[in-house]
Symmetry: C2
Subunit: 600 residues, 2 copies
């Protein structure tokens, strides 16, 4: 018998579910820890996408609970538009089934794989089906289903289906059980923190066993749902064009206008002319050679870039700054949203931000936060084009040392928003190398780098001034003492001079013949929000500026003033009384504060 | 209308061909350059696998020819067992169709995606179908087909099919046309060079436009074809066990013995006992809880590791050394094949080699050659567990400096052979992180590192000895001259002493009263292949060792001796004559040669 006949017996079709069951690491299920993160991520991606489509402020519940030694129950519930019962089995229990695959717009999920892969992983590790509840309107009942995937065929199997009462008028709830370990918790919170930074309109309520967390929204505006656009002529390949042409009943010129983004009648005529085809040619009868000429014409003719503003949803500089400031209390923070750009016909926008100081670690490499279509990328940093671009910038130009990544108390955020993010694999961990995208990242970082450099050199200058000032301040009391000795007068108080030189906030209380004067000078370069406490036996009823608050106890009065002093400004209040007592400022950093009570 | 109803209209199935067409970078088709490499690689993987199955010495033709501005025709032809005509369409024009997906053994291709993806890429970029010729036996005709993939359904379409005359009795030829650029050539040769190193039994004839190259085999033994084994109990997950059990008609104990590797009757009983199930229980009627208990028992019971020797095909230390030496002429080379090991029930073997010096670049990081199942990995080095493991070794322990990778004239080869290589993505560029595999790589490299350290310290010692010897040799002639002056004798020849000290090959010719003596000492530490020329008016007919060759011209005789001298050995020949003339050694490196003719 011929060997080829033998071999032929073994050749057969493999279902896509079998393929991904065997290669589950390609979908982000390589370890039990990661399984939980990936499942929560896929469910949240779907929830956020659906809420955006429904223009609802997302309110998402995430619950991860250990129910046995190594078995965890994961629940994700949202207030999105829900899924009709006819579609629930396919959406949750069939790989490569979804609504966003053919749409040209920015979405988190795209391939119709993610959540079904989680269902597959659950049944693989615990044998348990997944429970889904969904309700599409207050006027309709909620549906509850128990689902598995038939691996050999990649078809859904509905084990049970009932109508139930549910508290939410619309939304979706998914419950899965699978093997994992507690190590996932920390990473999960990290993922949720970053997700919350780039989705400032979403609220996440999180339950990890008996601990509860809330990541609240900082904005109440639902970002506009990106609108699907037609494909751009620059992003089409011959095979796809051939398929589109074969399916069209329009004459060539109309076909071009109807099928592609940014092609009007004039551009269509130009394309026809260049390709030597008649505008009235029957599109579905074009030969391969003609299509080839058509494609060349389409990609040579000057056509405006696809409209980025409709189909993309950048976070905006303001909200990035807000999100990062909230989490890390930075000394310097600047964000940049680049103008829309295009690679191979796909629109994209790059956003970046640099933060410095604050709560960031002073030692070691910068923290790099990578995002694609508002989803944080937590794994495979080394394989990502974003990392590559960050490392490719010459940070020494901006007075930052560098070991691959820049070094120091730095945080770098990069967000790539695109109608088609080129991930290196279906686990969506890393952006593949695309020169146009990398260039945009580089440009954004260079712009931010220049701002950072300015900040650092100003800080350096301030530090030098401080050093000089400190040196001067060290000798002033000595000079004062010497001069006082010579002229035989008491040693004067030099702290005000020091305060001015050292750029501090100086508080002074003076009592002269029953008149009390409290004076504050803000010599710092920043606005200061000050609360002043003056505690003495004076009631200060005739104070030139009445206190914000007064309280009395055993004849002793606590007087409180609250005010804001811009850099260089002064505050002064006078009243009659005996003076003495205790005086104090709050709201000014310790190292910026000089308090002098001349009464004492 | 409820939004969910609207959304439902857009939800639909996506064919796996559509999925990979859109995400072609996941299969290694991210750029035109890479398209060619990936296509050739996938075709060669198939050819080598098929030849191994047929136990044929592979003779593979690779031709890449530019036929238009940016269109290239790629041909790969092999002498493998061929494919029967009924299966040709599915094998070449249907993704996820193949024979090796369900087999537990080492193969290059596995998923039934690679070559069909190349067909998909060709039709996408040029619209052209792929031509395949295959013949399975000399007694049968060859079949030629023109194929495309129907993207929407992932089904093959046969555009033409004819029987033809073909010169090969069996084999396969594939011809594709697609867009690329010439930059691919260099990378292609690199890929073929590395493929040839790890497939020493294969011969590649390569035509790149008008240039021809041959990578010949260095071994004529076809490696044994790895034998498929049953899955090991440690590598099974609950979902898969559930499926296997449901399909079985055997009682539990027999089911275990029949379905799994390394489970005998005794082990099966142990498993049953531990899981509290009857050995006679009906396997297909087990509940989820019972299966869960069964799985726990299977993975807790001590079961020997799966047999690595049958299902894996390591290259062997000898052939790795041979392959690397051929290409890089190294000063030091050592290879290590680790014993078989197992992760999650999959057998694997790690092989590694370290080369030093020779033609390697002295500056910069080590060259890292990564291989998986005898296939070179050319992309995404940064994302690979192999790189990770190499960087994790503390090379300073072995006197090698390190910047991530070790630094210096170093080449490190790592080959992971496994029944299931955990690639990070379907483009098969990088091995995913698996602790067991990384540990084996580390162990292999540490063993080799110790050998390298020994080599380097011996070399360092030799260098120190050389330095010392050179210092001594510098004074010897001065001492000799001084002593000669004192004792009033002629200055003696000190070159023999120097030769001995400096570990050189010393040639001396002495004429004493009509007797000529030629003496060679090999003071080096290496065997030397020497050719000695003695040109003079002596015919040396009575030479104690007859010359290998003599020629005469105008009465002058050229006498030639060819011989090998082991380290420390001497050669001496005597004859009668007048002496004088010219004497010379060839085959000894210039810096190791001392030639002294005392006649002159």
């Amino acid at each position: 018998m011929v060997l080829a006949d033998e071999l032929a017996k073994k050749q057969r079709s493999i279902s896509v579910a079998e393929f991904f069951e065997k290669n589950k690491h390609m979908l982000g299920f390589d370890s039990p820890t990661r399984g939980i993160i990936t499942t929560v991520k896929e469910a949240i991606d779907n929830s956020l996408d659906a809420c955006e489509e429904a223009q609802v402020l997302p309110d998402i519940l995430v619950s991860v609970r250990r129910i046995k030694e190594d078995v965890f129950r994961v629940v994700v519930e949202d207030n999105g538009p829900g899924i009709i019962p006819e579609k629930m089995p396919s959406v949750y229990a069939k790989l490569l089934y979804g609504s966003r695959f053919h749409q040209v717009r920015q979405t988190r999920g795209q391939q119709g794989i993610g959540i079904s892969a989680a269902v597959l992983y659950a049944q693989l590790t615990t044998g348990k089906p997944t429970t889904v509840i969904s309700r599409t309107d207050a006027s309709r009942p909620a549906h509850k289903m128990s689902l598995t995937i038939k691996t050999e065929t990649n078809e859904p199997e509905v084990l049970s289906h009932e109508e139930i009462d549910w508290i939410l008028p619309h939304g979706t709830r998914i419950e899965l059980e699978f093997k994992s370990n507690i190590a996932a918790k920390k990473k999960l919170l990290e993922y949720l923190k970053y997700t919350s930074i780039v989705n400032p309109h979403a609220k996440f309520r999180v339950e990890l066993d008996d601990d509860a967390f809330i990541f609240d929204r900082v904005s109440s505006d639902v970002p506009p749902c990106p609108v699907a656009i037609k494909p751009h002529p620059y992003g089409i390949e011959l095979g796809v064009l051939k398929r589109m042409a074969a399916a069209s009943e329009l004459p060539l010129s109309e076909f071009l206008v109807e099928s592609f983004s940014k092609v009007g009648a004039k551009t269509a005529d130009e394309i026809c002319k260049y390709s030597k085809l008649k505008p009235t040619a029957k599109t579905d009868e074009l030969s391969l050679e003609e299509l080839s000429a058509l494609l060349e014409a389409m990609q040579t003719t000057k056509i405006p870039a696809p409209p980025a503003s409709q189909c993309l949803s950048p976070i905006t500089e303001e909200l990035i700054v807000k999100g990062m400031e909230k989490e890390f209390e930075l000394d310097f923070i600047k964000a940049r949203t680049r103008p829309g750009n295009v690679f191979g016909g796909h629109s994209f926008i790059v956003e970046a931000a640099i933060g410095y100081g604050g709560k960031l670690q002073a030692e070691g490499q910068a923290t790099l936060l990578r995002f694609a279509n508002r989803v944080p990328l937590l794994y495979q940093q080394g394989a990502c084009a974003i990392t590559n671009a960050v490392q490719g910038v010459n940070w020494k130009n901006y007075n930052v040392s560098q070991q691959g990544l820049p070094v120091g108390p730095l945080m770098i955020l990069v967000h790539v928003a695109a109608t088609n993010v080129p991930f290196t694999s279906e686990s969506k961990d890393a952006v593949a190398s695309v020169p146009e995208v990398e260039r945009e990242i580089t440009l954004a970082l260079q712009e931010l780098g220049r701002d950072l450099k300015q900040f650092l050199s100003r800080r350096e200058k301030n530090k030098q001034q401080d050093d000089r000032a400190r040196a001067i301040c060290a000798v002033i009391p000595l000079i004062a003492a010497k001069v006082a000795e010579i002229v035989e007068l008491p040693v004067p108080d030099t702290s005000i001079i020091e305060g001015r030189i050292m750029r501090r906030v100086v508080l002074k209380k003076k009592t002269t013949g029953g008149q009390i004067q409290i004076h504050i000078d803000n010599y710092t370069t920043k606005e200061q929000e000050i609360t002043l406490y003056d505690i003495s036996f004076d009631s200060a009823e005739d104070a030139s500026i009445p206190p914000s608050f007064v309280s009395e106890m055993d004849g002793e009065y606590t007087k409180l003033w609250k005010f804001t002093l811009a850099a260089g400004e002064s505050f002064e209040v006078t009243y009659h009384g005996e003076g003495g007592g205790l005086i104090q400022m709050q709201g000014v950093a310790e190292n910026l504060k000089v308090e002098v009570d001349l009464d004492v």
